[in-house]
Amino acid sequence: MAKTEDEIMQGDLQGIPREKLMEMLRWMVLSRRFEEKTAEAYQTGKIGGFCHLYIGQEAVAVGAIAALREDDYVFTAYRDHAQALVRGVSPDAVMAELYGRIGGASRGAGGSMHIFDRDVNFMGGHGIVGTHLPLAGGVGYAIKYRGGDQVVLCFFGDSVVNGGPFHEAFNMVAKWELPVVYVVENNSYGMGTDIDRVAAVDDLFTRACAYQGKKAEQVDGMDVLAVYDATTRAVKRARETSRPTFIEARTYRYLGHSMSDPAHGTYRSREEVQAERKNDAINSLAERMEQAGLLTDEEYKAMDAGVIAEVERAAEFAEASPLPGRDEIYAHVYADEFRGGLDRRDAWR
């Protein structure tokens, strides 16, 4: 027997209401469609530089950011398009940034790896592996300093756990009890190196056991609801007790490390990638919602079409946005006028 509209609207999966499920599904589809468009624009030369796509990993950014409040903070590494979009940076501003235009989130100065948006506390887009973990701790310090109850969510890739900043940051946030939730997106590969070949411990979440007071858990990063659930608990703990948590989300990147390298090659096989694609996070949530009677095929297609149109509009916006002028070169290096002028030694330029 078909459900009434009220029954559908009030339905849920694992206690998560339909409205929230639809929001997460839509964010994942937006992220996927946006990056498909990004790849196309990269191949036609509209986007340059290093460009790291997130396709396959959407459930991690979406599930985790969905657990935040509007005044919380988000940090991530250079694979940052999805986090920016889900945090609320407009698709227009993200795409224009990729195009290197003045309408971009960072006025065309940052590009793919350095998206920032102060209005939604999106703290970037950081390009050096591990460097932003202490920064996220610093925002946590500022929150505690002021007696606030916001939370910092900080994403990073699996190769970070072998480096110094990871341990330095974890030690300080644990010792000083700072409200930071760290999420490692373990896609098994640091560029083209299997994590097992360079990490002494396979289960990355166990690294946090060295830091007293830092809770850690491992979740299926291809299950957006599992990520949402774990992050919700971690955010609550941070907000109420100012204590950090470390979440390891096991996920998979479908494409190459960046647009410069293929999806499979010397370090992983085509078969492996194809097998992982069957476990797709978007399909999986859509199917579960359909089985629970919370979503019809028509609704999904309509939502998808709306997202595709939004992405097309973002590309049109980016295309139409002006290139930064020469005055932008010196505009944001310093807050004040640099005494003597930064351009004092640029004759013949």
Binding site: R107, G127, T131, G138, Y141, H332
Partner: protein, 327 residues
């Protein structure tokens, strides 16, 4: 005016700014309970408590990065490095994060932070603890760099650095902490990027900074007494921005220049100053510009060799006599 040490001047700057602005906090190794490895932060923990005077683990990149994040969120951290030699571990936080954030966010995030601590050689501290890091930071757009030589400049520049909206690298002279000098009563601010003529002279300009200002002054007094040469000593005070108007004008007046620095010669700050002088005052020069720098080697432990490696007044006098055609 009060006669106080360079160390006391820095302590006063920190205390005054922490009282004035509750966003200012200090962090670093030994800054709290121990009162600072060089006692610069003496008494601050008692007055301001541990949230504002934070003892850190020995993890320079970690706590420097934590400071950058706190600054992005609106606080005004003063991060102390026990010495700038240890800050090499934090070069990533300073260069990749602090210096770049404003630019690469399109102007959205400023990083109002001060990184401070002693630099330069002291007494027989050997190769890893005697380095002059000044040009490593002066090279980086997005940073400002201060190198005070006197208590008054230490006080005024540190207060300006703490109030500045941009990241400031503040390099103190390890051998200057006990140097005494007159300091004005009341509020004393020295603008970043403005050089100071520490001695007026007509015959030659000596451009220098930090500890070498005192070496230049010694040389200048001896030159006046023994060779009838009046040297003008220009103390850069800041290495970024460099106040080229002041040293170029001085060279236009004296027509001769010696550029003195404690650090290594290749790509040292002196190389930039010589470039500025030749570009802007070529027609005023009566002799090629001379440079005096530390020798191009890692520092020796042996005192006899350390004294040779670090420039002294005699080396400056030889260089001045050379550009004055007196040798």
């Amino acid at each position: 005016m009060a006669l106080i040490t360079y160390r006391e001047a820095l302590n006063r700057a920190l205390r005054e700014e922490m009282r004035r602005d509750d966003r200012v906090f200090i962090m670093g190794e030994e800054v709290g309970e121990y009162d600072g490895a060089y006692k610069v932060s003496k008494g601050l923990l008692d007055e301001f408590g541990e949230m504002r005077v934070r003892d850190t683990p020995i993890a320079e990149n970690g706590f420097a990065g934590l400071g950058v994040g706190a600054a992005m969120a609106g606080l005004r951290p003063v991060v102390e490095f026990m010495t700038w030699n240890f800050a090499l571990l934090a070069y990533d936080a300073i260069v990749n994060s602090a210096a770049k954030m404003r630019h690469m966010s399109g102007g959205q995030f400023t990083v109002p932070i001060v990184f401070r601590g002693p630099g330069g050689s002291a007494m027989q501290l050997a190769a890893q603890h005697s380095q002059v890091p000044d040009p490593w930071y002066a090279n980086i757009p997005g940073l400002k760099v201060c190198t005070p030589a006197t208590p008054a400049d230490a006080l005024g520049l540190l207060k300006s650095a703490i109030r500045d909206e941009d990241p400031v690298v503040f390099i103190e002279g390890e051998m200057l902490y006990n140097v005494k000098g007159e300091v004005p009563d009341g509020e004393h601010l020295v603008p970043i990027g403005v050089a100071d003529i520490k001695r007026v002279g007509e015959d030659v300009t000596i451009v220098t900074h930090s500890k070498m200002v005192h070496v230049a002054m010694q040389a200048a007094e001896k030159l006046a007494a023994e060779h009838e040469v009046e040297a003008e000593v220009v103390d850069l005070r800041s290495l970024r921005p460099l106040d080229l108007d002041t040293y170029v004008a001085s060279v236009m007046k004296t027509n001769r220049a010696v550029v003195l620095e404690e650090g290594w010669p290749v790509a040292g700050i002196g190389a930039q100053i010589v470039d500025d002088i030749q570009r802007e005052a070529f027609d005023y020069l009566d002799a090629p510009v001379a440079r005096v720098s530390g020798l191009d080697v890692p520092m020796h432990y042996a005192r006899a060799l350390e004294k040779i490696i670090v420039p002294d007044a005699e080396a400056v006098i030889r260089a001045v006599k050379h550009v004055c055609y007196l040798d």
